[in-house]
Symmetry: C2
Subunit: 100 residues, 2 copies
């Protein structure tokens, strides 16, 4: 997709134990992919985890947040999964790339 669109950068530090985290992370990504306005989802984990989801509009992001908040409430909750996290809502102004 060509810019402009939106990105949600979710950076986090996990807690030691799993507490059903992997299952929840899969659900969160599935929720995103099924939702209107979804563009893409990328994730990687080293010392910290970074997930970036891309969306057509801020309203799509608000809707996704409402869904993930419900998921967090149903499940054990963020304080068992994360030592810390940070969410940044961004407007993608420009993009370029390289591919073999």
């Amino acid at each position: 997709m060509k810019a402009p669109y939106y990105a949600v950068i979710f950076t986090n530090q996990r807690t030691e134990e799993d507490h059903g985290y992997s299952e929840m992370a899969r659900k969160m990504e599935d929720l995103a992919r099924q939702q209107p306005g979804f563009v893409d989802f990328e994730r990687a984990r080293g010392e910290i985890g970074i997930s970036v989801s891309y969306w057509k509009s801020l309203q799509d992001i608000a809707d996704w947040k409402a869904n993930t908040d419900r998921l967090f409430a149903q499940e054990k909750g963020k304080s068992e999964w994360y030592a810390w996290y940070k969410v940044r809502i961004c407007f993608v102004e420009r993009e370029y790339g390289f591919s073999k």
Copy 2:
């Protein structure tokens, strides 16, 4: 740092061999950290790699790009390190977080 500021999301797929990649990646991060306007740098790698650098202004990003382009030119070059990559220049509109 409180928003607004800028983010560069660099998503990539590595090639099989190292070709001096680790050394170059360290240099790129060092260059960023020494540069005016630098805010933060986060990175993680799983099946793909995601690095996000944060900057005070678009001009800071342009300056950093000029420096990394020089680095790429000096070194073996991007086609030996990456199967593909994508760069997204973003305006961070809003942020929130959680910390234990």
